[in-house]
């Protein structure tokens, strides 16, 4: 490009560094969308983190309970229940995979009833059964509970063996139900976020109709335009997703601190029994971060799909 009337100066290139986004970056709608994504990510991360804590806690409960079985010896007419309990303990000790066996005495058994019946009562007339708590070893040798049950039934009348399987099953159902409900909430939150992104993208397309039109007229392909909007929404999604994920992580750290501070009170013990120590661990926090990034990705992909649909509608 030359012109005789214009002195040819040496061109000093001072163009701006980095290309400006073709979709206006900052707008009220954009800030509102970042807030919505941050809130949705926060809720999704809280739900997922809560489910994770319940899963971890239930795994720990089940692991500890499944390492223990109980034999109950009831009083039978004509039998000395304490002798029967001792005999049941001896039979149990003969089995492989059995660790510590503790036979509860009459006094110890009565003490176990105190939380329900209160202290200071004379329970000597009550037919209080004796309990034998049996710890299983961690090695590969497993006791044959069927055989043990048969041996006890044969040699110790009034005895029964409880391997806690019923309780374990109920525990598993409860934990799985909580996780399932959490998963449903998580899915609903993600759907709500997708809807919000869809509306925001449609709004952005309508608000930037002139930009889209000019881009088409200067030869931009639909893919190029969709990429511009996708980048814009991915940036908003990343900002919102990271804010939400970090807020959720802070909430878990705070809850852990609260649980630690109030662990000595009865309510604190209940909470700790259900959720453990609120410690998600490194993997848990990585999951929260992944949720934040996934929300951003969903935002980007969703906006691309909507933009393509919109551009097809312009044909």
């Amino acid at each position: 490009m030359t012109d005789a009337s214009v002195p040819h100066e040496e061109i000093v290139v001072q163009a701006p560094a980095g290309a400006m986004s073709l979709v206006p970056a900052d707008s009220i709608a954009g800030r509102a969308l970042v807030t919505v994504i941050a809130i949705m990510t926060f809720l999704a991360a809280l739900t997922a983190g809560g489910a994770l804590l319940v899963t971890q806690a239930s795994r720990e409960w089940r692991a500890s309970v499944s390492q223990e079985i109980t034999v109950q010896v009831r009083q039978v007419a004509g039998n000395d229940v304490d002798a029967a309990a001792q005999k049941a303990g001896e039979i149990t000790r003969l089995q492989p995979g059995i660790g510590d066996v503790k036979v509860y005495s009459k006094a110890e058994s009565q003490k176990l009833l105190e939380p329900w019946l209160g202290s200071g009562l004379d329970l000597s007339e009550l037919p209080v059964p004796r309990l034998i708590v049996i710890k299983l070893t961690n090695n590969s040798a497993k006791p044959d509970l069927t055989m043990l049950r048969q041996a006890l039934a044969r040699d110790v009348p009034g005895s029964s063996l409880d391997d806690h399987s019923l309780w374990l099953d109920r525990l598993a159902i409860m934990a799985n139900s909580i996780v399932f409900i959490a998963l449903m909430i998580f899915v609903l939150v993600v759907i709500a976020m997708i809807m919000a992104v869809a509306f925001a993208t449609r709004g952005a397309m309508a608000g930037n109709r002139e930009i889209v039109s000019v881009l088409h007229l200067v030869g931009a392909a639909d893919g190029f335009i969709a990429q511009q909007f996708q980048r814009h929404f991915l940036r908003l999604g990343l900002r919102g997703g990271l804010i939400g994920a970090v807020a959720a992580a802070v909430a878990f750290v705070f809850a852990g601190w609260l649980a630690g501070a109030f662990s000595s009170v009865p309510g604190g013990e209940q909470v700790e029994a259900l959720f453990g120590t609120f410690s998600l661990g490194i993997s848990g926090y990585l999951i929260l971060l992944t949720i934040g990034l996934a929300m951003a990705l969903v935002t980007g992909v969703m906006s691309r799909v909507i933009v393509f649909r919109h551009l097809r509608g312009l044909e």
Binding site: A15, S213, A221
Partner: protein, 220 residues
């Protein structure tokens, strides 16, 4: 390059605003498209750009029947056409430099490959000091020059300019016209829509396409 055969256009069920247009725009040609306000000059340019579809007739662009072009083919076709819009249509959140570089950017070119070229053109049209400025700050004439620079930056095969000198002083207008002539000499077919008779008289050897009452009269 562009061929219209018995092209007609009406909006909805209204009367035909363009009737039986038949003309040809040859490669490396230079023509004025003129006529009174509201004669349909801008509409005709939109037809050439495939921003509008005719209600009848045949439009051939770069040897292809425009009615059969796919969306991708229309995109490819538009990349060979530079357009100066009457209302400039600069993107207001982009600087002058970024607006001018837009046709190269949508081609996926790396900024380093076109930066000096864009800066040189901006200096040539007198916007060297205004390249980092956003369009709302530019005067009407500056916007017009930026719009012209954007239209010619990719060296199009066909340039459609709608009133390209309407907002600039006569001296700059002549200079911009020389730019169009140079483009034509280097191989671009140029169509300039104007009703500035003085401007057309300066290039009295140029072909004139005159629109009136929906019809076209051609003066070679």
């Amino acid at each position: 390059m562009v061929r219209f055969e018995n092209v007609g256009l009406r909006y909805g069920f209204g009367p035909e605003i363009l009737r039986d247009l038949s003309f040809n725009i040859a490669p490396q040609s230079f023509q004025f498209l003129t006529g009174p306000s509201g004669a349909g000059k801008t509409t005709l340019m939109r037809l050439m750009l495939q921003a509008l579809q005719p209600t009848r007739g045949l439009i051939t662009v770069f040897g292809r029947n425009a009615a059969t072009l796919t969306k991708d083919e229309i995109t490819a076709m538009r990349r060979r056409i530079g357009v100066v819009f009457q209302d400039f249509r600069l993107l207001e959140h982009l600087t002058t430099y970024e607006n001018v570089a837009l046709p190269l950017r949508v081609l996926g070119k790396n900024e380093f490959s076109y930066r000096s070229e864009v800066v040189e053109l901006l200096r040539w049209v007198g916007l060297g000091e205004r390249m980092h400025v956003l369009p709302p700050v530019l005067s009407g004439g500056e916007k017009q020059r930026a719009a012209i620079a954007r239209a010619v930056i990719a060296s199009p095969e066909l340039l459609l300019a709608d009133e390209p000198t309407g907002n600039v002083d006569p001296s700059l207008g002549r200079r911009l016209m020389r730019l169009f002539v140079e483009l034509q000499k280097s191989g671009t077919a140029v169509v300039i829509a104007t009703h500035d008779l003085a401007l057309m008289d300066m290039f009295d050897d140029a072909r004139r396409l005159v629109l009136g009452d929906g019809r076209m009269h051609i003066y070679d």
